[in-house]
């Protein structure tokens, strides 16, 4: 088993336009959350991030779109490269970066008082797109990609909050996709959803990963096994192990990964 899986190991995959993280340290004030993280994330694939609560999963993905630094007291050192370009280079504007790196949060958070349409169009409209025809087109395309179009096409003017939890989360995915990012970060996107809604989102992710680089935090080992190409396991702000999902779950190299999988902590 071990011998077979080595040729699938992370280092062997060709990373063309992925995300490359080197000596990343991050934290809040005195508190260091991420300690010297070094990982590579494949483009056009789904990478799952697992680990016990508080190990820094959210902090990590929030460093990728530079949302972390919006929290008072938060700091980052080290480098993250997206398509070979340093995300933390002084020439990079975090606002523009976030149009390339979208994000979906743990709890569905549609904009209150915005219709379904206005939610999806928000990123475009507020960045100056005015033409109704173009907006219509983008909204429809994004909703289709988020597998929500058929359910909402007759009530686009209803409030986003009138949808069910699972629909709201797909609405948030559509909202993120509308600005046409290359990367989509998902922070436990299903943890507030019922199993059926979760299944729909997972189906959707399997489609999306052909076109987008997906990075998803998840607590659910089965979920990672179902959708993730790669999985990384974090513990106390450090990378324990990263590899193709099937290998990580069937044949972990690190005993700590093994005990996490078998449910001894988390």
């Amino acid at each position: 088993m071990r011998a077979l899986s080595t040729n699938l190991a992370a280092g062997d995959v060709a990373f063309g336009a992925g995300i490359s993280v080197a000596s990343l340290r991050a934290g809040f004030g005195e508190h260091t959350v991420l300690k010297d993280l070094r990982v590579k994330i494949q483009s056009k694939a789904l990478t799952a991030i697992m680990g016990p609560s508080g190990c820094g999963k959210s902090t990590f993905i929030r460093c990728i779109n530079r949302l972390h630094e919006e929290t008072p007291g938060a700091w980052v050192r080290g480098s993250i490269e997206l398509d070979g370009e340093g995300v933390y280079d002084t020439t990079v504007d975090p606002v523009e970066l976030r149009r390339r790196v979208g994000m979906v949060f743990q709890r569905p958070n549609p904009f209150p008082n915005f219709s379904i349409y206005a939610n999806v169009a928000a990123g475009l409209r507020l960045n100056g797109m005015r033409k109704r025809r173009m907006l219509d087109e983008r909204v429809e395309r994004s909703l289709r990609r988020a597998a929500l179009w058929d359910e909402v096409k007759d009530r686009l003017e209803k409030p986003g909050s009138s949808l069910s939890g699972g629909q709201q989360q797909r609405l948030c995915i559509a909202r993120a996709l509308a600005v046409e990012p290359e990367v989509l970060l998902l922070d436990e996107p299903c943890s507030a959803l019922d199993p059926l809604a979760t299944e729909r989102i997972e189906e959707l992710l399997l489609h999306l990963k052909r076109e987008y680089t997906l990075v998803m935090v998840t607590h659910n080992i089965q979920q990672a096994a179902r959708v993730a190409d790669e999985t990384m396991f974090l513990l106390l702000g450090e990378l324990v192990e990263q590899g193709p999902t099937s290998q990580l779950f069937t044949n972990p190299r690190d005993p700590r990964t093994e005990s996490f999988i078998s449910g001894r902590f988390g």
Binding site: E70, R98, F105, N109, F114, A122, P159
Partner: protein, 290 residues
């Protein structure tokens, strides 16, 4: 099963229900008797003519339309001043990390809200109306009255705006930032819009609060028998007309004062009801949003 405990519980719940009904009736008494007194004394006076005609000399059957128009223009002017300031303050107080300046601003607003309305009137008189000394010197006018009302509205409106904005979860702000929008745009176009229903509620409530004020207008808007013509001219208002007419020795004017009182209360109740209906409509599931 009719155990002793069930009987005791039923007794307790009935007693409490009875007490609640009693308190409710007790609270109803002043309100109903007030409305009854107003209606009994004012209803006969309030005719379409009374509502649409302007002042006329005693004996010539005048109306209070000039005062209604005056009140509305004073309230509009006060809103024009208080709304942008209050919103700016609300945003500043709700979203910034609490700086010393923010604390100071909040303290100042709290102190302002405790100043008696008549003193606000005197203050505006001193720095806006008065034609000599350290003053804008624009004289008795709609502008001066509007500023006085704005000063009373501002602390209330700023506070409710702050609460309204603070109530929007941080997750909404983060979602906006994550879309690649500058923070300022997220605050002005997303958070503010999300807070609109509560902001409107605050506006209506602060308007209802100042609509009945006569004291701040005595030294500022001054009162007038004409339709509001210019922002720089004195202007009438319902509370002040009431105050002036009620002290006159003519039965006709006293009757008109009762009528004005009824109209004033009706307008305030209307504003409050509008707030309530608006909120019900806004929060009713499935309401369409443009």
């Amino acid at each position: 099963m009719n155990s002793r405990r069930t009987i005791y519980r039923r007794f307790k719940s009935r007693t409490i229900l009875g007490l609640m009904a009693f308190t409710f009736l007790l609270a109803l008494v002043p309100l109903v008797s007030l409305l009854w007194t107003l209606a009994a004394n004012g209803a006969a006076t309030v005719t379409p003519h009374f509502l649409t005609a302007s002042w006329a000399p005693v004996g010539e059957n005048g109306g209070i339309a000039h005062a209604i128009a005056g009140s509305l223009s004073l309230l509009a002017l006060a809103s024009v001043v208080a709304v942008p300031l209050g919103l700016a303050n609300g945003i500043y107080l709700a979203r910034r990390a609490p700086t010393r300046l923010a604390h100071l601003t909040r303290l100042l607003l709290d102190v302002t809200s405790g100043i008696p309305a008549i003193i606000v009137g005197v203050f505006i008189y001193t720095v806006v109306v008065r034609r000599e000394g350290f003053s804008l010197g624009i004289g008795f006018s709609m502008v001066a009255g509007g500023l006085a009302l704005a000063m009373i509205m501002l602390p209330i409106f700023a506070r409710t705006s702050e609460e309204a904005i603070r109530a929007i979860p941080r997750a909404v702000e983060e979602a906006g930032l994550a879309l690649g929008l500058p923070r300022r745009r997220v605050i002005l176009r997303i958070i503010l819009r999300a807070a609109v229903p509560s902001i409107f509620t605050g506006l209506f409530l602060s308007l209802a609060r100042v609509a009945g004020e006569a004291a701040p207008l005595l030294f500022t808007a001054f009162g007038s028998n004409d339709w509001p013509a210019s922002p720089l001219k004195p202007v009438s208002s319902l509370p002040q007309l009431l105050f002036d007419y009620a002290r006159q020795p003519f039965d006709e004017l006293v009757r008109q004062a009762w009528g004005a009182a009824l109209v004033l209360v009706a307008i305030i109740l209307l504003i409050r009801t509008a707030t309530f209906v608006y909120l019900r409509w806004r929060y009713s599931k499935g309401a369409s949003i443009a």
